[in-house]
């Protein structure tokens, strides 16, 4: 059984799974319960300036009958008095010395306010502070949360106030509501952050009610943007994580990253770890299913690590980062083609219609081995999709829509042209990259045929 213990900038936890700062970490009652279930750590729901909450706070994004593929919220930071929170944090940490107890904070943008809250948090015995620069609603209008995270200068200034005052590790939580995540990440690093966490929630509207025309979540007939989280945001979170972990400045001076954004299963967590996350934070999945999911998270991750021959979770952290590249450096000669295993094919012909109408017209329908036109064919034979391999551009769409496991696979074929990248062409044959005639001539020269 692989060792899941995690050391995040000196903050230790028995496994990498932390509850994210959110409704599940609102109270000692919840966090004690979560730790009994085995959660490795918890980031206390953000404490800070006084707030008042509204109804309704959450809206669901549903897809195909599946509830809560993502959640949108307009809930604010903790609405419990700060003294109550600080007292409970102290109690929890005393009860659970082996767990990571991290406190998220967000106060007005003045140095004294931040230094006060840092002192209050340190006095509880908490292991670390997380700076909430991400909350996209309610607090941002008051100059906090995303209003800070979206301005690298503010981000750096406040982080510096905190790191100069804190003796425990400081984690900066980044907002995804930016066009480029790198400047705020650099700001955090420049100000001496001990760790980075991402992503916070994404600006969103959960939906519009088609009967009442109300915005979801609906607050007394009104709606606004809220924070989007849950499985549907995971690809965005993975991208932003990869941007930081593949950034040369970060790589020169790395700090641990706590990854989050739609983690529901151990598989999701493993993907974040491969892209460089040391710890994993979870919120929506717990809001949906409860704390019990940590059992599957830990056992699944451990089994996978065993299968991969890793003795410690940290061995896989960042293992896929070296594969993060840019389009210009992709090998244009790399070639795959789709192959259909006819013994598995159930003739739903989704691959045919996807390829014929949605992609590159490389799959035929056949009856008794002969290509037919389905619009005019009137025989009774079940139609079998067949790939015209010479025409297949290797886009992968057919295998993505195929509902049968292992029926359509993309198989690598020997390159038809010498290895070359776009960036190399830009350097060696610039005319090819700017002039269509030159491109056509180049294709003829190397033997690229596009049907």
């Amino acid at each position: 059984m692989a060792d899941l213990t995690t050391n995040f900038a000196g903050v230790r936890s028995p496994n990498p799974f932390w509850l994210a700062s959110a409704p599940p970490t609102n109270s000692a009652y919840q966090i004690n319960k979560a730790f009994e279930y085995g959660w490795g750590g918890a980031v206390w729901k953000t404490i800070g300036d006084p707030v008042l909450n509204v109804c309704n706070r959450y809206g669901a994004f549903e897809y195909g009958g599946k509830r809560l593929v993502a959640i949108n919220n307009v809930e604010l930071i903790s609405d419990r008095p700060i003294e109550v929170n600080l007292k409970e944090i102290r109690e929890v940490k005393r009860l659970w010395p082996d767990r990571a107890v991290i406190v998220s904070a967000m106060v007005s943008s003045n140095e004294q306010a931040w230094k006060t809250v840092v002192q209050q948090i340190e006095d509880t015995g908490a292991d670390a502070i997380e700076l909430n620069y991400g909350c996209p609603h309610g607090m941002s209008e008051r100059g906090m949360g995303a209003a800070v995270g979206q301005v690298p200068e503010y981000c750096e200034m406040i982080t510096a106030w905190v790191t100069s005052a804190a003796s425990i590790p400081v984690i900066v939580k980044l907002t995804p509501n930016v066009t480029n995540i790198i400047p705020p990440a650099h700001a955090a690093l420049n100000a001496g952050a001990d760790g980075i966490s991402l992503i916070n929630t994404i600006n969103s509207i959960a939906g519009v009610d088609l009967d009442s025309f109300e915005i979801r979540p609906n607050v007394g007939g009104k709606g606004s943007h809220g924070g989007y989280a849950g499985p549907a945001v995971r690809p965005i979170a993975l991208h932003l994580l990869s941007q930081i972990t593949s950034d040369p400045t970060y790589q020169a001076r790395p700090v641990p990253i706590s990854g989050m954004g739609g983690v529901e299963t151990w598989r999701d967590a493993a993907e974040f770890m491969l892209l460089g996350a040391t710890s994993i934070q979870v919120c929506t999945a717990v809001m949906h299913y409860g704390f019990r999911i940590v059992h599957e998270l830990t056992t699944g991750l451990s089994n996978w690590l065993d299968e991969k021959g890793a003795r410690q979770a940290e061995e896989v952290v960042g293992a896929s980062v070296e594969r993060i590249s840019v389009f210009g450096d992709f090998d244009l000669s790399f070639r795959t083609v789709a192959t259909i295993d006819e013994s598995k094919c159930i003739q739903c012909n989704l691959c045919y219609v996807a390829c014929d109408e949605g992609a590159h017209q490389c799959i035929d329908l056949t009856a008794d081995g002969l290509r037919i036109d389905p619009d005019t064919y009137e025989g009774g034979t079940t139609l079998q999709p067949v790939v015209r391999e010479d025409d297949c551009v290797g886009c992968d769409l057919c295998s993505l829509v195929c509902p049968v496991d292992g029926c359509i696979t993309m198989v690598e074929r020997p390159p038809k042209i010498p290895p070359v990248t776009w960036n190399e062409l830009v350097r060696t044959r610039p005319e090819v990259t700017t002039d269509w005639d030159a491109m056509v001539a180049y294709r003829e020269e190397v033997g690229i045929e596009i049907h």
Partner: protein
């Protein structure tokens, strides 16, 4: 009088639709399992060619009116068919997910869509301008109603003559309540009427109105009379009290479903019931007898399981009800007491000999194998008589008791067409095949009357399976 009278609540439970309606989320989840196959085999497997993947996608998207429209465009009797179709033999049996997964519950989804529009009263079709043509239809069962509705969609006014008090044919009188509540059958009739169809009940063609009047008074006549009562067993004792015909027995439960569950108590049922026959009607009669409180119900069939026309799922269902099926057993005499009441059935064991004219092995009595089975009620379900006298009155040819028709469902009389069970010489007599017959007959009649064919929405599903359905694809696309 039996020891334990069933309570009204028990009776109500026993005569309620077996499958409850899907909840919105159940329907959404099931609809989303559908792969939305291109060139989907379920369409081909549907006798009426319903564009199944499209209507399921419409359910998934919350467009229930659209889903019902898709269904009813191909099959005006879709409200019944979603309940009574042997889907495992048809669309569900063809579902590609059946290979490795659980096929889509197409029937239940269909019902979910049609229930919605029938409940909300949403208008599915706009009435067509009157072509001035008039058609008389004999029989308000699925075939007659389907044809009447299809004619109405083309602006041809149909008048449907029904000898029973209620319209709907077997949907109203013959399909057990557990599969189709009476309300559903009557809703379907109202829907057909809403298209501009006139339904006249309690009028028997050949008795109250002559075939000649119809032929002369209308531009065309469609015979969709179905089949008649169960024939005689032709064994001694058949006139004894307690020997009944399966069809009115089942019909009584359908009427009770309409008039109030307490009416079920008025239906005489024995303690020891013997059902003679092993087809769909026999299965239904046995189920009804059991659910009305019979202690023991035994079906008798003179051939073996292989020759039974009931579907596997029906046999499994009736066995699960606690009904015993005695194969290779033929009744030779019904026994009675001094009051003329049934006391039992004398039977003889059979064995299968050489194939007969139908290709099935002919059952032969085993000498000396007679036995007596006790019974206080005997239900006859050995097929249905044909309306050969009616056919003769119309002056049309018939074959083996069925109306002789050509490919266009035209009889030997140029103005008379026929559809439904009365032409069903071979194959299963299903509601859905009757519906398809009615549709095809309407199309043929309209063509004969020079009425323009409906045009198909060019954005609707294309492909070989859509050819020849209500709206001919090729009429638009050459």
């Amino acid at each position: 009088m039996r020891e334990h009278e069933l309570t009204l609540a028990q009776l109500q439970d026993s005569f309620t639709e077996t499958y409850p309606r899907y909840t919105p989320n159940e329907a959404t989840v099931e609809a989303n399992r559908c792969l939305y196959c291109f060139d989907a085999p379920c369409i081909q497997a549907c006798p009426t060619g319903i564009d199944v993947p499209t209507f399921i996608r419409q359910i998934a998207n919350g467009n229930l009116l659209g889903a019902a429209t898709t269904i009813l465009e191909s099959n005006l009797i879709g409200h019944s068919c979603g309940r009574v179709c042997p889907v495992d033999e048809l669309c569900v049996g063809a579902c590609v997910l059946g290979a490795e997964h659980r096929p889509i519950a197409i029937g239940r989804l269909q019902r979910y869509a049609t229930d919605h529009v029938f409940e909300t009263g949403a208008r599915v079709f706009e009435p067509a301008p009157d072509s001035g043509k008039r058609v008389a239809i004999v029989g308000a069962g699925p075939a007659g109603l389907s044809a009447a509705g299809e004619l109405a969609k083309r602006g041809v006014r149909a008048t449907v003559f029904e000898r029973q008090e209620l319209p709907g044919g077997l949907s109203t009188y013959g399909i057990v309540v557990m599969r189709e509540p009476t309300r559903v059958a009557l809703e379907e009739v109202e829907f057909i009427q809403s298209l501009g169809v006139e339904v006249v009940t309690g009028v028997e063609v050949g008795v109250d109105v002559s075939p000649q009047e119809l032929i002369e008074g209308y531009d065309a006549v469609l015979l969709a009379a179905g089949t008649g009562p169960v024939p005689r067993l032709n064994v001694p004792g058949e006139e004894l009290e307690g020997v009944i015909d399966a069809l009115p027995f089942i019909a009584a439960t359908k009427l009770a479903d309409k008039d109030g569950v307490e009416r079920l108590r008025e239906i005489p049922v024995g303690d020891e019931v013997i059902v003679v026959g092993a087809g769909n009607t026999a299965v239904d009669a046995a189920t009804v007898a059991k659910r009305l409180g019979a202690e023991r119900v035994t079906m008798l069939y003179r051939r073996s399981r292989a020759e039974m026309t009931a579907y596997d799922f029906e046999v499994a269902f009736v066995r699960n009800e606690g009904v015993d099926i005695r194969l290779l057993t033929q009744p030779v005499e019904i026994l009675g007491d001094e009051h003329g009441r049934v006391t039992g059935v004398r039977c003889v064991r059979m064995r299968l000999g050489e194939p007969d004219a139908s290709g099935r092995r002919r059952p032969e009595p085993v000498p000396g194998s007679e036995l007596v089975l006790p019974a206080d009620q005997v239900i006859k379900a050995i097929g249905q008589e044909k309306f050969t006298a009616l056919f003769a009155a119309f002056g049309i040819e018939s074959i083996g008791g069925y109306v002789k028709v050509d490919e266009e469902l035209r009889t030997s009389h140029p103005k008379v067409f026929a559809a439904g069970d009365c032409v069903r010489l071979t194959g299963h007599a299903l509601t859905v095949t009757a519906a398809e017959d009615g549709k095809n007959a309407a199309r043929a009649i309209a063509r004969q009357l020079g009425v323009e064919e409906l045009r198909r929405d060019p954005s609707a599903t294309r492909g070989r399976y859509m050819h020849g359905t209500t709206n001919d694809f090729r009429s638009v696309h050459g």
